[in-house]
């Protein structure tokens, strides 16, 4: 593996981890709202969140490009007010990964929250616990398996993100080049050996992530 290849691996893992961390708070909040509350527009939000799963990733990338380009509504705002450019930078990579992973996290976490018996949350309330305490001491620990699973799934999805990333971030060597983009580029250039090395790294990283998650969950036995 060349230094450049290692740089691509490190960049991809770092940005995928960042994207996963960024979607955790809103993802868990939305999952909880979907699992435990009824509100107007709920089914619309539910559908909108699932869209990146079914729309072609390239189409999602195009939407992001329009929104976050310098002339787009959000990109223009960020550029003028905060001096931040998104498109064709590492931020665009993180954005594409976050948007594409978000539905996986929300779905897993929602199912996990729904699996927590309401009776336990109700009893916690009769014992004087306010909403946040009920969530952090009862709901979240009992949903931990599904939440951790969903987080890893989101992370793995982020690692492999391709279609949305290539549109909104391009494939700029040393700046926005991720594992998937590099593999594609190497194959295009006919450098199969390079592509296979990156492929092996992708598999190893994904394997390590899933295995670590399983290990974390085994270390936290129930009932103690």
């Amino acid at each position: 593996m060349s230094a450049e290849e290692w740089r691509v691996v490190a960049f991809t893992v770092r940005i995928a981890a960042l994207a996963t961390l960024l979607i955790l708070p809103p993802g868990l909040a939305l999952a909880w709202l979907l699992a435990r509350r009824t509100w107007p527009g709920k089914s619309l939000v539910e559908t909108a969140v699932a869209l990146p799963l079914v729309v072609p990733p390239v189409a999602t990338g195009l939407v992001l490009l329009e929104l976050f380009g310098r002339r787009g509504p959000l990109g223009g705002f960020l550029h003028e007010r905060l001096g931040l450019d998104v498109v064709f930078t590492w931020r665009a990579v993180a954005l594409a990964m976050a948007v594409m992973s978000f539905p996986l996290l929300v779905r897993s976490a929602r199912t996990a929250f729904e699996g927590v018996p309401r009776r336990l949350e109700q009893i916690a309330r009769t014992l004087g616990a306010a909403g946040p305490r009920v969530f952090f001491t009862v709901t979240l620990p009992l949903a931990a398996r599904g939440v951790v699973g969903g987080t890893l799934l989101a992370f793995a999805r982020a690692l492999g993100e391709f279609g949305a990333t290539i549109l909104v971030a391009g494939n700029i060597p040393g700046r926005t080049s991720t594992l998937s983009l590099s593999i594609y580029q190497q194959v295009q250039l006919g450098r199969d050996a390079h592509a296979f090395r990156l492929l092996a790294v992708s598999v190893a990283v994904a394997f390590a992530a899933v295995w670590t998650g399983e290990w974390l969950l085994r270390r936290r036995p129930q009932g103690t």
């Binding site: 018996p117 009776r119 336990l120 109700q122 009893i123 916690a124 309330r125 009769t126 014992l127 004087g128 616990a129 306010a130 001491t137 009862v138 620990p141 009992l142 129930q222 009932g223 103690t224």
Partner: protein
């Protein structure tokens, strides 16, 4: 204790819970067959469920008044709830379960302490165990301890012995009597077992399909 249950109207599956009563005894049984609306009534008192019409007050303090738009959140009611299956937190030890709602600072001088409750309910040897390997009777004692340690003004007990076999019931019943004697917390006790009513309660309300069909001293009503 004075528990006012006024203008209660709550549609349930196939019938309506309709009740207007005031309870003044320290141990009152809600007696009746399964599906009579007993648990729904406990949920209303605990603030875990809302009814289209209800006015509930405990010792003059209004907990629910639908006409006035009052609905005190469950966490401010100071009502201990022991549900049928115990509903213990499966990820916490027995000690952390019973201390979950413990408020030593605002319990007052007569407030229950862990030592006292553990002694009365004989929980000492269980405290550092997980709840997963407790027996049915042990689970109920832990649930009872957890409710008592939250310094409740009223205890709601929902068929706490229903899941236990007869010999075990006979062993747990004295604990409930001890709780009455030792802590003096008034209780509303849901059951469909006349024996438990006779052993524990001063008054019994008989519910059938959401309606109060009889009330009085257990010996007269259940004889």
């Amino acid at each position: 204790m004075r528990l006012a249950l006024r203008r209660i109207r709550l549609p349930l599956a196939g019938f309506e819970l309709a009740l207007d009563a005031e309870l003044a005894d320290d141990a009152t049984a809600l007696f009746g067959p399964s599906g009579a609306g007993k648990t729904a009534l406990l949920d209303l008192v605990a603030g875990l469920r809302r009814a289209p019409s209800a006015r509930i007050a405990l010792d003059g303090r209004v907990l629910t008044d639908t006409a006035a738009g009052v609905e005190l959140p469950a966490r401010h009611r100071r009502i201990g709830y022991v549900p049928q299956d115990g509903a213990l937190f499966p990820h916490l030890s027995v000690r952390r379960n019973v201390l979950y709602g413990h408020r030593p600072q605002d319990g007052g001088p007569g407030a229950a302490t862990l030592e006292h409750v553990a002694a009365v309910l004989e929980l000492g040897p269980l405290l550092d165990r997980g709840v997963g390997d407790l027996s049915g009777g042990e689970r109920q004692r832990v649930a009872l301890a957890r409710a008592l340690l939250s310094s409740p003004r009223l205890l709601l007990l929902d068929e706490p012995l229903a899941a236990l076999d007869r010999p075990l019931k006979a062993r747990i019943l004295p604990y409930l009597k001890a709780v009455r004697g030792e802590f003096g917390v008034p209780m509303l006790y849901v059951t469909h077992d006349p024996e438990e009513v006779l052993a524990l309660c001063d008054e019994v309300l008989v519910l059938e399909r959401g309606k109060l069909v009889a009330r009085g001293a257990p010996r007269e009503i259940l004889a």
